[in-house]
Amino acid sequence: MSRPTRRPVKKLTCILIASALAAGVAASLLAQADSASIAVGVVLPISGREAKPGQYQREGVELAIHEINQAGGIFVKKLGKKVPVREVFYDDGSDQAKSSGLVERAMTADGVIAVLGGYSTALGEAESVMPDRYQTPWITTGAAASTIFSRGYQWIFGTLSPTDLLGFTTAEFLGGLVDRGKLHKGLKLALALENTDHGVDYEKGIEKWNHAHPGYFTVVFSEKFDLGSPDFSGLLQKVKTAHADIFLADAHLQDYITMHRQYVQTGMYHQMISYGARGPEADARKALGDATNYIFAGIWWSDKLPYPQVKQFVTRYKAFTGHAPDSWYPATAYDAMRALAVAIERAGSLDKTAIRDQLRTVELKDSLLPGQVLRFGKNGQISTAFVIVQNQPGNRVEIVFPKDAATGDAIAPSPKPH
């Protein structure tokens, strides 16, 4: 009975051997290609719910690659020449499973020397398990949750400061308004947080500041909500019932738009209102009009930062993409690619371990980010300061905190709508 099955088994063995040989030839061809270009994987969402920020981040990476290649590429000492960068791009469709699968594919089948990507905490979390498995450096350009960087991974880096710092800076900004007499001491805060690690970290940051500065604020309401909900009336009713003075939400763009529409429709008012890192986006302005006025946001970067390299970046970005940078998205991606380029050059080879080691000590001294210096911390994540921006009448977005970067004064408390 076993005889008839032998022939197919033989055939299968032949096919497997042939496949292995083909894979070997492909690998050697890939290795040859390696000396002609440096393959960098980029995995970002340009479709699905995170498409818009993902697209901006992609543009940031591509502008950096364009500039590097225009200068002849990255000098690799071991090869004795400048080598151009080749982008291997994948759209993860805002899907976690697909996202980690594509990072795995880039690190294994495409032979990249590093991967950039992971916009949003959820997608970044999914991707973050791959770098250590395949010993390939990974720089997340859009995931900030500290949980990603607290697992002891050795191959991961991030160009977004942790979200708890966002919560901390938000509370610090509000505390500053109290000190200046713009807000009263002892105000009540209501928190509505997205049901992710991002939301958890945001709350932690606020609690940390509150703990260090007793008497300023009391959190009277704190609850998490699900991403992409079609209705927030129940949640907003609870916020209303809490009779808070300040409303702080941590939300993605779509939820910010839906929630704030309902907030306005239900006639709610708070002295200050924020949606975490969301606020100044052009899409939000289009969807909400003047209702976005006085909303403040803690963001990782602003095109209004008073650094010459920021002005140059904005000009080059406009020329490259045909539009102005929207919010912080392209800047962290641009700097991630530049930091990687510096690390490769300092490593002097395309050895991934050497590049990883250089990333740990790299210092980008003309960084676009607040403080102008990008360096990764021990856990791989940067911790540059946040800037607080506020939407103001006349479609203006002003940096209102910290003082040394401010382009305008905060309007506080927000005027009551008519």
């Binding site: 340009i46 079609p230 209705d231 129940g234 763009l253």
Partner: protein, 297 residues
């Protein structure tokens, strides 16, 4: 919670029920007549949203008029889809794997078509109506939600009229009850199914237009609504329009009021739990329960 807060919340739930009913009707028509679960429903909602957006953005056509215009346009689109794809499916009294796969594939095609035409930017319709509120004493009524609620009620009323006052409506009801008996009684099964499919798509397209007045949208739009539409039609009874209204109301009331005692993060679990309960306890939905009670009394 004060009485006024309770009343405001009740009104919010009623208005949300209107949104849910509007988006579920189209799916019910198609299932009722053809026993096809329209997995492309979310894709049609998305196209409806963009249709109304384009009319508003390019020619400043009021979104309400856009919704009215969406009916004939999406009806023709539905007829076209039926001719091109749906009629090729083998007729069946139960949803078939072929129909599920075909319509899921169609959803993906529509979604990618959306990306091709409109890109991935979030769009939204902002009119003076969008953020305006009517005040009835201490009660606040968001104008745009009121409009959507009115639209949903009008759609359900129109459907009831069509189903009970026209020959076509009788034919539809006959096919909903028993396809073969309907055929033996002289109903043009193929023609009725074609028109019913067109109507289902027309209602879905118009509902998409109504949703566009409330939410921002991208080609990915519609997925959270698809799950809720499933819950509503399973709860209401897969072939009952009164059941759709009841199912929408129950889901909206549960979602709105339950999170007054539960954390808001549990909101999606409420819809899923309701689906499980409906399938386990009321497999024929509220309409089945109602029919059984009528038979016994």
């Amino acid at each position: 919670m004060s009485g006024v807060d309770f009343l405001n919340l009740l009104i919010a739930a009623l208005l949300l029920a209107g949104v849910y009913a509007a988006m579920s009707v189209g799916m019910t028509i198609i299932y009722g007549v053809m026993k096809i679960v329209n997995l492309a429903h979310a894709g049609v909602l998305m196209l409806g949203a963009y249709f109304v957006y384009e009319l508003y953005d390019r020619w400043a056509i009021d979104p309400l008029l856009g919704v009215v215009l969406a009916f004939p346009v999406f009806f023709l689109f539905g007829i076209g889809l039926h001719r091109a794809l749906i009629r090729r499916l083998p007729p069946s009294d139960q949803p078939t794997l072929a129909s599920l796969l075909l319509l899921f594939g169609l959803w993906l095609v529509l979604q990618n078509l959306g990306y091709l035409i409109w890109g991935n930017a979030d769009r939204a319709i902002l009119t003076p109506r969008t953020l305006s509120v009517l005040h009835l004493g201490p009660i606040t009524l968001p104008a745009v939600r009121l409009v959507v609620f009115g639209g949903a009620v009008a759609a359900l009323a129109a459907l009831e009229l069509i189903l009970h006052r026209t020959w076509f409506g009788r034919a539809v009801r006959a096919l909903m009850q028993n396809r073969d008996a309907g055929r033996l009684a002289g109903v043009d099964v193929e023609g009725t199914a074609r028109v019913a499919f067109g109507m289902g798509i027309a209602f879905a397209g118009a509902a998409g237009g109504m949703l566009a007045m409330l939410y921002s949208f991208s080609p990915d739009f519609g997925s959270p609504f698809l799950l809720r539409a499933f819950v509503i039609i399973v709860l209401g009874g897969l072939e009952s329009f009164a059941g759709v209204a009841a199912g929408a109301l129950i889901l909206a009331l549960l979602e709105t009021f339950s999170i007054q005692v539960l954390p808001a993060g549990y909101q999606p679990a409420i819809a899923f739990s309701l689906l499980v309960v409906a399938l386990a306890v009321l497999p024929e939905g509220l309409a089945g329960l109602w029919n059984r009670r009528r038979r016994f009394t």
